[in-house]
Symmetry: C2
């Protein structure tokens, strides 16, 4: 991870932490534009958010979808110079959103709790980096033990 990645992932983790504190699903994401730069001074956090299934009774506001929504309407070129940071391996919906907008790079906090569409992303040429972050894992594991019904609902699994 370079310094922009540290900024992006820490932004996503802060959102995940907030969601957990609110009783929600602790997954956060951030969409960061940096173009070809690796200097954090050139980075712009376009959008950041957390999963809002519980807080907003939402079936679609996973962390990454919520971050894209927070970023608002953008030109295609902006997505193509951005990285999506997410605390957990992205589900197929969020994977599809990353592919729709041709976001070229995804940094994932962890994929030990659950694995989403990483192989699909890679097959389409997206760079996928999994950093195995301890706080991301701790938050998810606590939540899955505490609220297994909500977690299964979030990933479309029968309880």
């Amino acid at each position: 991870m370079d310094d922009i990645d540290k900024l992006g992932l820490s932004t996503a983790i802060a959102k995940a932490r907030k969601s957990y504190q609110e009783g929600g699903i602790p997954i956060g994401a951030a969409l960061v534009y940096h173009g070809s730069s690796t200097d954090p001074k050139d980075a712009v956090v376009l959008g950041c958010a957390h999963n809002s299934r519980i807080q907003k009774s939402s079936a679609t506001l996973h962390g990454e979808i919520a971050a894209l929504e927070d970023a608002g309407r953008l030109k295609a070129q902006v997505y193509r110079g951005s990285t999506m940071y997410t605390t957990l391996s992205p589900c197929l919906m969020c994977t599809g959103a990353i592919l729709l907008y041709k976001i070229p790079r995804v940094v994932i906090g962890e994929n030990e709790s659950w694995v989403g569409g990483e192989e699909l992303l890679k097959s389409q040429g997206v760079e996928v980096i999994v950093v195995d972050n301890a706080e991301c894992k701790t938050l998810m594991k606590k939540f899955i033990v505490e609220k297994p019904e909500e977690w299964n609902e979030d990933i479309g699994e029968i309880q």
Copy 2:
């Protein structure tokens, strides 16, 4: 198409028509629960909505995502007894949402204006029916000619 399909697609088309009248992208969708029944009296429209990129300045409220959001939080079993109706071939984000929730069946108004993730859906065992509906095609073709920038933005294409 059976009678439930006629109900589902006409609901999606009505939303697409409304969006066009509002100056928005004319794509509508409806999520309809019917279990194993083909009797319209057993069908429940769980959610229906239209693309709201323009109306709500949204980067993620495509027709199908908006219909899922309109349906609210549902148990996995409900999605698995439902059909998604959409006026246009679903993009990869909406395709991914259908796969996330294991919706087994998708009825598409048309795929002449644009083709999304139909092959990915089929590869995962989803039944995909394209009905080549004239009104769906007319609405999309008018919109693409009238507002090409907004259309390209919606599908992540460089203008």
